[in-house]
């Protein structure tokens, strides 16, 4: 039996305080939720066994209310149940507050003050009506193929209400170009829209159209192109301050590097700055790889990211290897630099074995199985070694590494590691050998 708590409090949980000001609507909803379940809170803080008999009964009632279990009872039991609820004034538990999502500017609605939230709801309803009217107006203008300054006003107005209409964006860019409007002024306006609409991607395509046109206008004026590059990169920095992995911004940046020939203008340094903040930012790693291994000054045109490219100078390969090695030391279980390292080796046509010692820094396996504990600081290093050993023909060692991965260090991927083990046994050896398998398969099927 439960001990009769000697320190059991006499009073029931306090009734909610008079209306209180909450800093955010999420706080207000959460407070309301908690106030609606005082006995659950009490039980959680004191432990069920320390509740008084009355509190226990109230707690049980509250739990039944919350789960809806009472619905399946006979009518008489239900009646008795509700009588107790009323006499004990047990509040009806509210459902747990849901995430309110983000507004069109990407701001969490939950962080609004309760007053702002009221306004937000009202504004949402107003916009619904207004947007309908304005869109109807724009449709008429588009049907008449009108490209006039009022189109710019109208589209700006619509975009301020809803930035996700691709049709509006495209019509705006057509009109801008038809009117020969100032593109720098447009870019500046777009900056603000983009900062307010983090997740919107139409903006980035719009920007691409604008810059494309601007570059044609500027022609070969190096100074102006440099200015443009600088201001674009500065703006992207602002975007990355909000979300350093924003896919649309990064895609735009890769496009811009090619367009404005930014290969050697601080791109690598910018990636490094972001990686110093977060060495796990894979977008920054991906951008670095693009900048280093697509640079037309030394890269072979059309060489794919997964292919060897004989044009890459040795000192660049060495520099990239050293950079990723340093990052691996910083956080060995971070997959980004390991993927990067493999990518660099492939581009340079170098063998994984050339970094066997380095990868070995993170993996200590006793010579013979069962003799002493192994010490593995990175499953990615172990994966790397498995391939390096397979490359050398040390299949047994490679197999043991793959087994360790599947059984201990990366069990969720066990099927994958087992498949890799099966590849080891087949002719090719490591991952490199699988192509041979396809040829065999294709022959068998007569292709």
């Amino acid at each position: 039996m439960a001990p009769k708590g000697s320190k059991a409090p006499k009073a029931r949980p306090k009734p909610p305080d008079p209306p209180k000001e909450y800093p955010t609507i999420a706080d207000e909803l959460l407070a309301a939720y908690q106030e609606s379940r005082p006995y659950q809170t009490l039980a959680a803080s004191k432990g069920i066994q320390n509740l008084t008999a009355n509190e226990k009964a109230c707690y049980a009632h509250a739990v039944f209310l919350e789960t809806g279990a009472w619905r399946s009872w006979p009518a008489a039991t239900q009646n008795e149940f509700w009588k107790t609820i009323q006499s004990e004034k047990i509040p009806i538990p509210l459902p747990k507050p849901q995430d309110l999502g983000r507004d069109t500017r990407g701001i969490e609605v939950g962080k609004y003050t309760p007053a702002e939230f009221k306004l937000y709801l009202r504004r949402e309803r107003e916009i619904e009506g207004l947007l309908g009217k304005t869109m109807g107006y724009l449709r008429a203008i588009m049907a008449a193929k009108e490209h006039s300054p009022r189109v710019l006003e109208l589209t700006e107005h619509i975009i301020s209400m809803n930035a996700a209409h691709y049709t509006v964006w495209l019509y705006r860019s057509q009109t801008l170009l038809a009117l020969n409007s100032s593109i720098p002024a447009e870019l500046e306006w777009v900056n603000n829209v983009a900062l307010d609409n983090q997740k919107n991607y139409q903006i980035w395509h719009h920007r691409q159209i604008l810059v494309e046109h601007l570059v044609q206008d500027v022609g070969s004026d190096e100074g102006k192109l440099r200015e443009l590059g600088k201001s674009e990169v500065a703006f992207m920095k602002e975007m990355f301050d909000e979300d350093a992995k924003n896919y649309h911004v990064w895609s735009y940046r890769q496009w811009l590097v090619r367009k404005l020939d930014l290969w050697q203008k601080g791109e690598i340094e910018d990636c490094e700055r972001l990686l110093r903040e977060d060495v796990r930012n894979n977008s920054a790693w991906a951008h670095r790889f693009f900048v280093v291994f697509s640079n037309p000054r030394y890269c072979t045109e059309g060489s794919k990211a997964t292919e060897f490219d004989g044009g890459i100078p040795d000192e660049i390969l060495d520099r990239e290897i050293e950079f990723s090695k340093a990052a691996c030391f910083e956080a060995p279980q971070n997959q980004s630099p390991w993927n990067y390292l493999r990518g660099v080796l492939k581009k340079g046509g170098r063998k994984l074995v050339s970094l066997e010692c380095f990868a070995g820094e993170f993996v200590k396996i006793p010579e013979k199985e069962g003799e002493g504990e192994e010490d593995v600081k990175s499953s990615h290093a172990l994966d790397f070694l498995a391939d390096a050993w397979a490359e050398k023909g040390e299949r047994e060692k490679a197999d043991r590494a793959l087994r360790l991965l599947g059984d201990k260090y990366d069990r969720i991927r066990k099927n994958y590691w087992d498949w890799r083990r099966a590849l080891l046994k087949s002719d090719g050896g490591g991952l490199g050998g699988i192509e041979g398998q396809f040829v065999v398969g294709a022959k068998l099927f007569g292709h």
């Binding site: 439960a2 959680a44 432990g47 069920i48 066994q49 226990k56 049980a60 739990v63 789960t67 006979p74 039991t77 149940f81 459902p95 995430d99 999502g101 619904e128 869109m135 724009l138 449709r139 588009m142 809803n162 996700a164 209409h165 049709t167 495209l170 991607y201 395509h205 895609s251 890769q254 090619r258 903040e277 060495v279 930012n281 790693w285 991906a286 951008h287 794919k304 990211a305 997964t306 956080a331 971070n334 997959q335 980004s336 990518g343 492939k346 581009k347 499953s379 260090y409 990366d410 969720i412 991927r413 994958y416 498949w419 099966a422 991952l431 398998q437 396809f438 398969g441 294709a442 099927f445």
Partner: protein, 527 residues
């Protein structure tokens, strides 16, 4: 009604679990349930009894003595592999923004993976049932209150139809009731120049066109299929085709691998000719087609990590990996065309890295978080990759299946994915629906793609070279050579009733619908 109260001070848990009623034969009485019956007899009404034994959970009878329908499964916890309840074995000391949100996500998921939610019933594997009625209700409701025209979500109206119809059909609902409404909604947004816009007065765009086309194919029937102006669609595709081989999403819009996938879907489903119209920006005297350089362009999107990006030069991302594999699997037989254009081992290594433990679900990029929607975007890559590795299943003339030559089985943890879906992605409140992760609201998008991922983890797909299901001849028939079978295994962690319908591995709609549509259009012979 009984309570399970764990006798640990820090972990008070109350749980309600369906009782195995003796004699009805729904479950064999396990040692666990026997001990529970014993405990029940010991428990006294009307007060709580709490046993504070260390490991053995105590059974506490309720205060009312209402006829009990639940017992606890005391062994549930031990039936959940520790892979899904413990932190990863190797964790770096260095903390950064990425590792902080990753740690938070693990902490957010663990209680769900452990079955700690007191309101959720779990089976003996610690896995809750698929709450079909609520998810079905959620999707029906999403169609009842579609956003009014012109509001923020207006451009996604066609998607709301697709997500809901595909999800409902996969859960066995009759969706023909929506046929009339779908037709009347999409008719006015089809443009005479071909394709559909996202809403009234909007330019044609491949994304809503894909959603509408698939929705019409799901509800099926001549009336629905006849809505589509195929000739105009063909001309419009020509206008989107780019000289480099890819497709723009709308005229003057962005070019990415979604465009490539959707264009291929449209071409094959509507049985359109692949010739280019003269007005196309890609037209040349050399006589290219709508498919010229398409796989070559796609192949430029594979990154050094092995994954695939939205367009050349960008970062590998799960959603684009599916688009690319599905597109290739329309253009040719997976075992031939995928290795021809992609570095398969590198791709598999990256795809496999998308699955995390303890969460069990997939992430979309390296060092990003799990999200239920990748159950499809990444999960849906596996059947295509497995067909690519296995080669075709050889159908003999008598129709007897011959086992694949190099059956690789599954390359990912189906158990992990199913656990993530059923434990973490279900909104267990009255709201229903499926979600990104526990801290997020359910929505139609996630409901659709989480269900698609669940189905893919529950079935095995075979690619058959000699078993074309539509006798059409002509081009682009690879996508109609798939057959499925449920995966049956001894240790199945989900309840039999939770098996959802099969989704076509390329078109992402319930199996059979695409085949019917293709046949319908092919039988017309021309526009």
């Amino acid at each position: 009604m009984t309570f399970l109260i764990k006798g640990k001070k820090s972990q008070q848990r109350v749980r309600f679990i369906k009782r195995a009623i003796a004699g009805q034969g729904s479950h064999d009485p396990s040692p666990a349930s026997e001990s529970l019956h014993y405990d029940q007899q010991q428990a006294q009404r009307p007060d709580f009894i709490t046993e504070n034994s260390k490991d053995k959970p105590a059974i506490v009878d309720d205060a009312f003595g209402a006829s009990s329908r639940s017992v606890m499964s005391a062994k549930t916890a031990s039936m959940i592999p520790d892979l899904f309840t413990t932190l990863p074995p190797i964790r770096d000391l260095l903390q950064t923004g990425s590792s902080r949100v990753q740690d938070e996500t693990i902490q957010e998921c663990l209680p769900f993976l452990k079955g700690a939610d007191l309101n959720v019933q779990c089976n003996e594997h610690g896995v809750p049932q698929l709450d079909r009625p609520r998810h079905i209700n959620f999707l029906h409701k999403s169609l009842r209150k579609l956003p009014a025209p012109y509001v923020a979500a207006d451009a996604s109206r066609p998607w709301m139809f697709y997500w809901a119809l595909a999800g409902l059909a996969a859960m066995g609902e009759d969706v023909s009731q929506y046929r009339e409404r779908l037709i009347s909604t999409v008719q006015p947004i089809q443009n005479s120049t071909g394709g559909f816009g996202g809403g009234n007065g909007q330019l044609s765009h491949l994304a809503p066109t894909y959603a509408i086309l698939l929705s019409l194919v799901i509800v099926g029937g001549e009336e629905a299929l006849e809505v589509i102006d195929r000739k105009a669609m063909w001309k419009w595709l020509g206008a989107l085709k780019q000289p480099d081989g890819g497709f723009q999403m709308c005229v003057g819009g962005e070019e990415d691998v979604r465009g490539a996938y959707i264009a291929a879907v449209i071409l094959t489903l509507l049985d359109l000719p692949i010739e280019l119209s003269r007005e196309s920006p890609a037209w040349s005297r050399e006589g290219g087609t709508l498919l010229t350089n398409l796989p070559e362009w796609i192949s430029k999107c594979q990154t050094f990590e092995g994954g695939v990006s939205s367009r050349p030069d960008a970062e590998a991302h799960g959603a684009y990996a599916f688009c690319v594999l599905a597109c290739l699997s329309i253009l040719g037989d997976p075992h031939i065309i995928i290795p021809k254009y992609l570095d398969v081992p590198c791709l598999i290594s990256w795809l496999s890295s998308r699955q995390y433990a303890p969460e069990g679900g997939f992430s979309g990029r390296t060092n990003k978080l799990v999200d239920g929607c990748y159950s499809h975007w990444v999960g849906g890559c596996w059947p295509l990759i497995e067909a690519c590795l296995d080669g075709p299943s050889l159908g003999s003339p008598a129709g007897i299946q011959v086992a694949p030559l190099t059956a690789v089985g599954h390359l990912y943890s189906r158990e992990g994915l199913i656990r993530y879906i059923l434990c973490c992605c279900q909104d267990q409140t009255k709201r229903g629906g499926l979600r990104d992760k526990p801290s997020h609201n359910s929505d139609s998008y996630h409901t659709c793609y989480v269900l698609a991922g669940l189905s893919s983890a529950q079935h095995r797909w075979h690619f058959n070279t000699s078993a074309t299901k539509t006798a059409t001849g002509g081009m682009l028939n690879s996508a109609y050579q798939w057959t499925s079978e449920p995966i049956v295994e001894d240790l199945q962690i989900f309840d039999g009733a939770d098996r959802v319908g099969t989704w076509h591995p390329v078109f992402v709609i319930p199996e059979g619908a695409a085949e019917r549509a293709k046949e319908y259009f092919a039988s017309k012979g021309g526009f």
